[in-house]
Symmetry: C2
Subunit: 397 residues, 2 copies
């Protein structure tokens, strides 16, 4: 049977994330992956969560196994609120919604805002999961260049000035995916100003903000916003566990109400057990201590990667900015236009990296950039992976 | 700030499920709820799942806490496949996708099929969660009456004959929500024939199919379909736990591929722990034994409700069909046009029921029907709740 005619326009040309597709090809255990976005598994609190889950199901089976409320289990909303309060990112005019991963928050926010053809400003490059979510609402993505200190504010104003139909800006200001860059304080203040001047909303995606291992903490856009223009998406994926799928939105009540209805028809509510586990974990342990351990590890891993790059990459042929936190490092090869043959050759040499085109607004344009992840592999694998990559780069640049 | 102008058309007039709103008003512990759709909590296997969860997190923390694949954990897909095979509802041309509750499967199927303005045939009345999901894609709902033996086939053909733009039929053929009715074999065969004749797809939602306590099992629409027109949505919510949010889709590969991409941008994947718990539960225990215990209990609860209705309802004023399974019972009051005052009076008398308008295609039209649930309350509460309801009906009919 021919199914194309039954498909909605939004999916007809849609492809999955090439990164997740790449994972399927990576069953080969000899491949060193610098491609994914997995947090370090070494530190997962398996034993602690094992005891917690066992106890919850033994003492409160009905609570853990029965239907819950769409906006989230109240104590879990309190936990999310605490995280948001830590970065001054929740006001009395906001509501908190627990999400089955922050990605759901991004998806449903887009669904609540974007009509077909509506325009959304995004960093170029940006997180493919969010870009693809926006694409499924047939929105037009308007890319603004990411500089070493975050989105270009000249570029942003240019875009906003010339198009009054733009509704919202999507940004990952801190340890951006894929570039690892962090928006400066000046630019943060400017972005909030511009949002006000041109009357648009901001969707601030902050999954990596807690993972700082150098430099100084910067305020979130949400904390700088006095008008209620910022919707803030937080996540427990990188500070507790991605497999638990726990994230949250802090959003002005009028918008949160609509997003809640969209969640109701999407997954009814986030699974109860994982919510209860997170609540108990935060009650019994200091999650900031756990995060600090992760930061320390990521700092070492990042340093190892950068040192290996200096050692193995052909001199002067690859440019990068050393991140102050997060899990990604972004590289540019100015002497070529298309990284694809290098990525393919890397897979033959059993190291996986992600070509920059995946994160572009125009995915078909060639890119001379690639993304590296340092959170997932061990220190030994990072060095070995970068060595293999360096060999390919030396051979092909 | 005024947010309406930022909202997409789809959410501007959207309201949440009145049923879930009603829950919020029901904090009063004296209220007996015959309103929800909760399965019986008495039988939840809390102790078994406690041991299982504890062991998984202790022995496989990385698997349980790290990112998983969008289509689902392979062993979980096997579990879903077994359930689908039990009702002959999976072929070699199908793929299985694990969903964070079957509702997500309905939502994302709609997203993959429906453009704005596209038409979808639904039973009238039908499950509000699905109807609202379709509404969020700005689809036009075309309602076809539900008779005592399921959707009217004359009504369906009339609609299909006169409108070649219809893409898909949504149906809950077994123990339908809200009517509790089951589509006869003749009608099932006819629906599959009509889908072929008029070249449309069928989305078969079967969350209650396992919960039969009387009468004979009937084949699913999916099992009768030889052309690959049926997308089948299954659920573990009513046979294991709704709070775990585990469902699945069986769909032709070409469509499943698109739905998988939509899930990727929605929640990336269903939480790992709950998937692993379900796999272990099905490995260690015979889930059909557990389901059988539920059916036996629901049969007794349904009987209790029906007997109480006979005893306490004003004679000849209320019509209903006794269901052969599932969790809902549907009542009509032919002498009135609007049940709202009765529902409100019931809440004063501390018993909650759901007015029929919630399940209608046109939610603003008055309804003289209401839905009762018998799975959730205890036998004592069912009798007491129906007694209170009977008093209101006697007073107001």
């Amino acid at each position: 049977m021919e199914y194309t005619k039954f498909m909605s326009d939004r999916v007809k040309t849609m492809k999955g994330s090439a990164i997740r597709e790449m994972f399927k090809r990576m069953a080969d255990p000899e491949i060193i992956s610098l491609a994914g976005g997995n947090p370090a598994a070494e530190l997962f609190p398996g034993e602690e969560l094992s005891k917690i889950a066992g106890k919850i199901l033994m003492t409160s089976p009905t609570l853990a196994l029965q239907y819950g409320t769409t906006d989230g289990y109240p104590a879990m909303r309190e936990c999310a609120k605490k995280r948001a309060e830590k970065v001054n990112s929740v006001t009395d005019d906001d509501a908190i919604l627990i999400m089955t991963g922050a990605n759901q928050g991004i998806d449903l926010t887009a669904k609540a805002i974007l009509n077909k053809g509506d325009k959304i400003v995004v960093e170029s490059p940006s997180f493919i999961g969010s870009l693809n979510a926006f694409r499924t609402y047939e929105a037009q993505l308007v890319g603004v260049t990411v500089e070493d200190d975050g989105m270009s504010m000249e570029g942003l104003e240019e875009v906003l000035k010339n198009d009054s139909s733009i509704k919202i800006i999507y940004t990952i200001p801190t340890f951006q995916n894929p570039t690892g860059t962090t928006m400066s304080l000046t630019k943060r203040e400017r972005m909030v100003e511009l949002a006000s001047k041109y009357d648009v909303l901001i969707l601030e995606d902050n999954p990596y903000g807690d993972l700082r291992f150098s430099g100084e903490e910067l305020p979130t856009l949400k904390s700088l916003d006095k008008e209620g223009r910022v919707i803030y998406a937080g996540s427990f994926s990188k500070i507790l566990s991605p497999g638990m799928r726990l994230g949250y939105l802090v959003a002005p009540k009028a918008l949160a109400e609509k997003i809640e209805v969209l969640k109701q028809v999407n997954d009814v509510h986030t699974p109860m057990l994982t919510q209860l586990m997170c609540v108990e974990f935060m009650k019994k342990y200091n999650i900031d201590d756990y995060i600090a351990k992760n930061c320390e590890l990521y700092g070492r891993k990042c340093e190892c990667m950068v040192e290996s790059m200096k050692k193995y990459f052909p001199e002067g042929k690859v440019k990068w900015v050393v991140p102050e936190g997060g899990i990604f490092l972004w590289c540019e090869c100015p002497t070529i236009t298309d990284i694809t043959p290098i990525v393919d050759r890397c897979l033959e040499k059993k190291v996986a990296i992600v070509p920059g085109s995946n994160f572009a607004v125009d995915m078909n344009a060639p890119s001379n950039m690639f993304r590296l992840n340092y959170s997932s592999a061990t220190l030994e694998k990072i060095e070995e992976g970068v060595k293999r990559l360096g060999e390919v780069l030396s051979e092909m640049l």
